[in-house]
């Protein structure tokens, strides 16, 4: 296993639980694999669907990732970070199986966006929450317009909380490129966002 894959975030505590599951897997106990599946399947599915909105294909790929982990359990070296490892495997599986259509983020469906921290139906907050909705929409739209690789970098850094080193490992590019892609993406989003946002604020201001 490449040593690059094993960088940890400073202060990140390694999941000894995962290492325990791994020991079980290595000893041939499927319960270890099941535990790992139970723990990460939701995240992996959601991530996969963000890469490619094809339910069946994403599920197939998840299946293969776990089957291969099982199949090669004795030849695989130590895996330090299972979350990173599984994301990387799934990402590559999907990339191998899918064509060029990736990272299509449907932006029409903002109500289903994760978080919605400020959306509140109380009347007093209605306008405020509408502004927040507009903000989220504007950002989602800006994000949707980014080139695939920029979307991908932002997704890992902002939504999956991976470090620059980990993203570089997942995507197979150097850390500097990750940084550059992220910077370009944010510049684009900011430009789009501050423009839209100013208009929205003015609109509500004059109402």
């Amino acid at each position: 296993m490449s040593s690059k894959a094993e960088h940890l975030i400073p202060g990140e505590t390694l999941s000894s639980e995962d290492q325990f599951f791994w020991q079980m897997i290595r000893s041939g106990d499927p319960a270890g694999l099941e535990s790992l599946y139970e723990k990460y399947a939701d995240e992996l599915f959601s991530f996969g669907m963000n890469v490619l909105s094809e339910n069946e294909l994403v599920k197939d790929c998840i299946q293969e990732v776990f089957l291969e982990l099982w199949k090669y359990k004795s030849s695989l070296n130590a895996i330090r970070n299972f979350r990173l490892y599984l994301f990387k495997c799934l990402r590559n599986k999907i990339y191998n199986e899918s064509g060029k259509r990736r990272w299509i983020t449907p932006i029409d469906d903002v109500s289903k966006l994760k978080g919605q921290p400020y959306v509140d139906a109380e009347e007093t907050n209605l306008i405020a929450s509408q502004i927040e909705m507009e903000k989220q929409e504007a950002l989602a739209e800006a994000y949707g317009k980014l080139p695939d690789r920029q979307k991908e970098v932002i997704h890992y850094l902002f939504f999956e909380s991976f470090t620059y080193e980990q993203v570089s490992d997942i995507m197979g590019i150097n850390v500097q490129s990750v940084y550059t892609l992220a910077w370009k993406a944010l510049k684009c989003i900011k430009k789009h966002y501050s423009k839209g946002f100013t208009l929205i604020s003015l609109f509500y201001y004059f109402q």
């Binding site: 296993m1 490449s2 094993e6 960088h7 940890l8 400073p10 505590t13 390694l14 000894s16 290492q19 325990f20 000893s27 499927p30 694999l33 099941e34 599946y37 139970e38 399947a41 939701d42 599915f45 959601s46 669907m49 963000n50 197939d60 299946q63 293969e64 089957l67 291969e68 982990l69 090669y72 004795s74 030849s75 695989l76 490892y85 990387k88 495997c89 590559n92 990339y95 191998n96 199986e97 899918s98 064509g99 983020t105 469906d109 289903k112 966006l113 994760k114 927040e132 903000k135 950002l139 989602a140 932002i154 850094l157 902002f158 939504f159 910077w183 944010l186 989003i189 900011k190 501050s194």
Partner: protein, 364 residues
């Protein structure tokens, strides 16, 4: 840290800033509040960065619990198939094909030609021998050698670099052949004694039960039969032991052992103490040594040593531990020796051993 040149993007790219906004803690609060106070001109940038971070969201796809269960059942049933079934037809090109057909109802023959051409080119793209993107890590490495000992059998292994290893029964050692140019790494499940050939340029490390033991030229014993725990006993030279999870952290220097010291590790922590060479290394010299050894450990030792399985007809009423020293003895003699002091009778039936304890109430 200097933020005087920070733009909104720079704040967003700073993982410590993101951490502060999304998952604040007292230390980060102090750090960032102070920084912003020192640079009041940056408030606008900070505000925008914060707002973008909080409002940038992504679509969370719910994995229906029923789907999740069904998929696990599929994985479970495919586990022992020798070959992973990987769909051969690239799914997307097939779907492309079908989609294009539906559209083709308009009967524009020129469009059909164009579509067929596109498909042909598309197929060509897939058939082209492009370098494979991933499986670097999941392909089984043909250069790895695996030595496995069943219960009752020990093995002497000499590695390419001249290091000698005695692998105890019911253990597995995995190592690359040949070793890398810059390191020698092996993986152990079970127990082994290592006599490492000197090579100051290539460290020798053993991964076992969550620990990494690093040596330059030395001899030591590692026992990692129980999942998640591991004992490293150093006979000569020097070794460094690191928790495998922490070895990438530069502040973690690991623990260095001196000859005669043993590190006992389990998931809760570890301790270092002196060890008795005969009881730890006896197995390499056909010696079984029990010194107040608890029943479960003694059973494991004997099961591995003789390749038998113990069955207990009844349970002892109080805790049983064993004392005894057996040099190259038969199972019969070992059991005979132990049975008097520990108070049990035994019966050996091929590879099974039946133990009956004499509990006072059972006696006439």
């Amino acid at each position: 840290m200097d933020i005087s040149n920070y733009t909104t993007e720079d704040f967003l790219l700073d993982s410590s800033f993101r951490e502060w906004v999304l998952r604040p803690n007292p230390a980060l609060n102090i750090k960032w509040e102070r920084l912003i106070e020192e640079h009041p001109g940056k408030r606008q940038e900070v505000r925008l960065a914060r707002e973008m971070l909080l409002n940038l969201s992504y679509k969370k796809h719910q994995f229906q619990s029923e789907d999740k269960t069904v998929l696990w059942e599929q994985i479970r049933s495919n586990l022992n198939k020798s070959k992973v079934e990987i769909p051969v037809v690239p799914i997307h090109s097939k779907s492309t094909l079908e989609r294009k057909r539906d559209k083709g109802k308009r009967d524009n023959s020129w469009l059909r030609v164009a579509v067929i051409l596109v498909i042909a080119l598309g197929m060509g793209y897939y058939l082209m021998p492009t370098p494979k993107e991933l499986p670097i890590e999941i392909e089984p490495d043909p250069n790895y050698v695996e030595r496995v000992t069943p219960p009752g059998v020990k093995a002497h292994i000499t590695l390419g670099d001249g290091s000698k290893i005695i692998l105890n029964a019911n253990s597995k050692l995995t190592f690359p052949k040949p070793f890398d140019k810059d390191k020698r790494e092996v993986f152990l499940e079970g127990e082994a004694f290592f006599e490492i050939a000197k090579d100051t340029l290539r460290k020798f490390s053993v991964h076992s039960g969550g620990l990494e033991t690093i040596a330059l030229g030395t001899s030591f014993n590692i026992e990692a039969y129980t999942e998640g725990s591991c004992n490293v006993a150093l006979v000569s030279g020097k070794v460094k032991v690191q928790d495998r999870g922490n070895s990438d952290r530069s502040d973690d220097k690991g623990t260095t052992l001196s000859p005669g010291e043993m590190l006992k590790y389990n998931p809760k922590g570890y301790k270092v103490k002196a060890f008795d060479e005969e009881s730890v290394l006896g197995w390499t010299k056909k010696l079984i040594l029990f010194d107040n050894t608890p029943l479960p450990i003694a059973v494991r030792v004997l099961e591995n040593w003789y390749g038998v399985k113990f069955h207990f007809v009844n349970h002892p009423e109080k805790k049983v531990s064993f004392m005894g020293r057996f040099q190259d003895e038969t199972l019969q003699n070992v059991l005979k020796g132990l049975s008097y002091a520990a108070g049990f009778t035994y019966r050996i039936d091929a590879d099974r051993v039946y133990i009956t304890f004499h509990n006072p109430q059972n006696q006439p």
